[in-house]
Amino acid sequence: MTGGATKGVPGSGASVTLSNLEKTYDRASAAAKAVDGVSLDIRSGEFLTMLGPSGSGKTTTLMMIAGFETPTAGDIAIDGRSVVAMPPYRRNIGMVFQNYALFPHLTVEENVAFPLKQRGIPKAERAKLVAEALELVHLPGYGARYPRQLSGGQQQRVAVARAVVFKPRLLLMDEPLGALDKQLRENLQLEMRRLHADLGITFIYVTHDQEEALTMSDRIAVMNDGKVAQVGSPEDLYDRPDNRFVAGFIGESNFMPAIVRGLEDNMVVAECQGTVIRALCPNRPTSGEKVTLTTRPERLRFADGAWAGTEATHNRLSVTVTEAVFAGERCRYMLQAGDGTSIVLKEPSSATVRRRAVGERAEIAWSVADTILV
């Protein structure tokens, strides 16, 4: 957007390869692995988010890439060169910390100039680069202030400016928006995306906020228990979760127990409470196997009344309404299937749609393409 010299060139980002990365803090018990065999290929110029609950190993992985933690096993390669033995100050990686870690005794300008000073860049050029970086984060004119005189959002921008001013090819961010309020966070999410597009460098972003991950990332690596649960685009993860953890962690999901009865082209035919349910399935299960089917609440519809689906493309199920909540833009229904399985259905609210009452019996339907076996 601004700052000519900071403008990105296609392919100017670093590629990062993590191979069987492990981190154990307590050497005595190998069970307590903070990171347990993480392998990831992060492409040049990609915006990759590591998403997971606290304790899933995402921050530890990031700290190992930055060089603040040493892997117990495995390798980290940046542009094909192993950096495991390299101290952080030689890795040339930009980093934005959760609490920003701005130097309180330095002004905004001095903070942003810090990495340039370490690299022996002459004063005149430093001033030019600092001005460009501050413009890039929309903070020109704030150079003479101290960090404590800035708001949280402004401090965050200074931290970003400081992390990119020396034009690293890789930028790491550890929950950089975690301490900000919702409105500001949403604005800054868009700015991060813009920054990524402007700079053209590789971003590795750590967050526990799935919405943030979905809106910002090219790809998301969902972490759980020190392992990568699934890597994929936001659409991949939402529409085709590989496993129950991913289905449950990203967005809301219904889980229905079922038994596999057969295979049909690229579909699985399963029996769920005496009803035949068809589901997409990447890996083929055997007949008779007990499985779990998952669907998204907003992809379910009440099937009585005006409904245009067919048996071949849609699944149907009889349910009883146990709870009905009007939440403005949508109505949220808790439904109960014959065997007691709870199912959530979200329906866009409309003056023309009849609202269901508690205790009412109903038929629901949803597309086979929205049914995933996990």
Binding site: F68, Y89, F97, H105, R119
Partner: protein
Amino acid sequence: MSEVVQPASLALAVTRPKTAPLNWRKAVPLLLAAPLLIYMLVFYALPVVAMLLRSVNDPTWTLSHYATLIDDVVFQKTFWITINTSVTVTLGCLILGYPVAMGLVRARSMAPFILVVILLPFWTSVLVRSYAWMVLLGRHGLVNEALLALGMIERPIRILNTPLATQIAMIHILLPYMILPIANALRQIDPSLIRAASGLGSTPFMTFRQVILPLSMSGVAAGTLLTFVLALGFYITPAMVGGPRDITLSMLIAQQVEQLNWAYAATLSAVLLATALAILAVARKLPGVGNAFRTSMR
């Protein structure tokens, strides 16, 4: 809304009249401190004032005692030695103490042990420690014996009763006053700042110079001031291990009191006190130090 609030505030007004009880409540802290305040007033403040008054009203109201100090060669020499010793000792404490403070903050499981080692001499009487230094630095003391055994000297050298002995012993005694404020300041530095510096390309040495050292300056200032002001008034150690001709202000005061020369002793005391207060007053005006005062008071 107002209908709800009114009865409540009315009830408050009834149960808590605005006059006597409130004033009593304010007086409680003062009352709690009163015994100590009275004790300090009677046994400390009044004697000090009485002593200092002697510098201006002995035998009659006069400033002549101060006037004579201006040309007093003995005073000038003593004053110079006192300042010189204090500066040397403070610098020595800073150079030896800063690394120890860093070690104390970085050591995790060892920290309590290091703290005890620092504080152990602190809990021993100054008199005992000064005697110990007499034993160590004497003609046939440990230091001389060791140097002789190593062949570094041919005959015992004179260390005891020299300015060097005073400085060595005073540095030892005053070190904790330097280490603890610095360690306190270092402990308050957010560890993520050091990581950030490293991630931004700063070598450990550059991180020390550009981040750790400036952020610990409040502790350095507090430790330096404390050590310097304490060193100004040191008496026992220089008197015991120092040279007979290297007289400090406190020694001169003691000497004058022994000779019942109260007016002169009082004048010297006033000068010593004024010097210490002047240094504190100037130091508080320095930007970093004022902060250090406020944080160390908390």
